[in-house]
């Protein structure tokens, strides 16, 4: 195992161990936070009993849908904007300041338009993720070596074939960064929306447990969300690493 990985495990393990001790000796009272080992046990129980399977399925399917929308529309729009420099110049300031806008504030408006279903939540998650995908797509396309485009031209590829066979594969490491953002923002958007105004999903269950002082549900569900998000990002990170090694960039 590499030293950095070992150090990383030591830091995380040390932090969890410290929390465990602080909870056990009463510095952090159990009403505020149960010990991490208890949270892990409660999570295990939740998984085994399948009590929240429906909520988990709703959250993950909505986040998955928002993610697919954000990535497909974000990449396509990024390619489109990149091909039109005047439009790019017009939109650049908007992209740069987009994340200063509290997207979640639009949630009530979206509920008025779409009703209290899944669509407003998916829209929020999509709105959070799509610009990160667009920006990273543009970033990647800007860095495609000109010589590769000349090579495509010499092979008489048309614009669409050039985009599919040369430009997008060349920009893949940057696209993957956008994809990683989209995963995180999709989960944040869905769970955040479920917190605010919803009748189902993991976010709703966490908020419900919080309002009822039900720590044995709230903390395991928070842990579950963290595990899902970190796992997806780790898998994407490994893919990205493999890609960068193959290209001699790492």
């Amino acid at each position: 195992m590499k030293r950095t990985a070992l150090l990383r495990i030591l830091v995380i393990g040390g932090f969890i161990g410290l929390l465990e001790i602080l909870c056990r000796i009463g510095v952090i009272d159990n009403f505020t936070m149960p010990p991490p080992s208890r949270i892990a046990y409660d999570l295990w129980k939740i998984i085994v009993t399948g009590k929240f399977n429906a909520a988990i399925a709703v959250t993950l399917s909505n986040a998955g849908f928002a993610f697919i929308l954000a990535v497909s529309i974000g990449v396509a729009f990024g390619v489109f904007v990149h091909a039109l420099p005047p439009l790019r110049h017009a939109l650049d300031p908007f992209f740069a300041t987009y994340y200063a806008i509290p997207v979640l504030a639009f949630y009530p408006l979206l509920i008025i338009i779409f009703g209290l279903g899944d669509i407003p939540k998916i829209m929020i998650a999509f709105m959070l993720g799509v610009v990160a995908v667009i920006v990273n797509t543009l970033n990647g396309l800007d860095r495609v070596p000109r010589v590769l485009l000349k090579t495509a031209k010499m092979a008489r590829l048309n614009r669409i074939s050039t985009a599919i066979k040369v430009t997008l594969p060349s920009a893949t490491p940057y696209l993957l960064t956008g994809v990683k953002f989209a995963v995180a923002y999709s989960l944040i958007g869905i769970i955040g929306s479920e917190f605010v105004m919803s009748t189902n999903g993991v976010g709703f269950e966490i908020a419900f447990a919080y309002n009822n002082f039900d720590n044995s549900t709230m903390y395991p569900l928070i842990l579950l969300v963290m595990i899902i998000s970190i796992s997806i990002n780790m898998i994407l990170g490994l893919w990205e690493k493999k890609l960068l090694i193959r290209r001699g960039l790492r």
């Binding site: 090579t151 193959r246 960039l249």
Partner: protein, 273 residues
């Protein structure tokens, strides 16, 4: 300017000029010309000139990657108007390997855009791999290869298309001197085997003198042809000609032409030696 009258003209340039429009109100840049030149079928023609004289622009005009501002270019009697002609291949100075493809897929890239059968594509790529000494690396990725090997991949990718005119833009520019000499020998061998017309851009006088039948000497910008030096080497030449007295004379003649032009280019750019 034309060479050996016995060989037919393969590529013809007449009054070719290239002016780049200035961006955001800047002055236009007269990069090239006027240039008149005939490349003969099957000859090895090299172009030398000071930095920024328009050598690569000239190559892009021949490749059809760039349109001329004035004048005309024809390849096998057909006019080139900024379109890619069938039978023309280019090897660029920069590393043009697709890093996400294996060596095999890189070489097959151009062929896969044609209507050729898969078996024919595989055969051609296998032959190219063998010819370029890349067979053991067919499944490797470019990042696993040295700079010289990556450039051989790019040459192979051009050769499998069986071009009749091969344009090379300082293909060995990033390589060390020993590798350049050996790659030069390989290039001569490929030239003899394929019978293609080769147009080589280089900043290395010795490389031009060793490889070419004729060497066009370009002026500082706007690039014009000052002279065409004929080397008189046999087609079976290799890198050992660098040891001969005639080789020294050719490079000395090239340097005579280029010294003044290089000084002009340096003083224009406001830099010092």
């Amino acid at each position: 300017m034309s060479g050996d009258a016995k060989k037919p003209v393969h590529v013809s340039l007449r009054g070719v000029t290239k002016v780049f429009r200035g961006a955001d109100g800047a002055q236009p840049v007269h990069a090239l010309g006027p240039i008149d030149l005939d490349l003969l079928r099957g000859e090895f023609f090299a172009v030398v000139g000071p930095s920024g004289c328009g050598k690569s622009t000239l190559l892009e005009v021949l490749a059809g990657l760039s349109e001329v501002t004035e004048g005309s270019v024809s390849f096998e009697g057909k006019a080139i108007h900024g379109q890619i002609m069938d039978g023309v291949g280019v090897v660029f100075q920069e590393d043009a390997c697709f890093p996400w493809m294996t060596v095999f897929d890189n070489i097959a890239f151009g062929l896969r855009q044609t209507s050729l059968e898969k078996t024919e594509i595989d055969n051609r790529v296998d032959r190219a791999l063998e010819m370029m000494g890349l067979l053991p690396f067919a499944k490797s990725y470019p990042a696993q290869l040295s700079g010289g090997m990556r450039q051989r991949v790019c040459i192979a990718r051009t050769l499998v298309l069986q071009p009749r005119l091969i344009l090379l833009d300082e293909p060995f520019g990033a390589l060390d001197q020993q590798t350049r000499l050996l790659m030069g020998e390989e290039l001569l061998r490929l030239w003899r085997e394929t019978g293609a017309t080769i147009f080589l851009i280089t900043h290395a006088l010795d490389e031009a003198a060793m490889l070419a039948d004729r060497i066009g000497v370009m002026s500082a910008r706007p690039g014009r042809l000052l002279d065409i030096v004929e080397t008189q080497w046999g087609t079976d030449r290799d890198s050992r000609i660098v040891e001969t007295e005639e080789f020294g004379k050719v490079t000395a003649l090239l340097w005579q032409w280029l010294r003044g032009e290089s000084m002009k280019a340096i003083s224009r750019n406001g830099s010092h030696i």
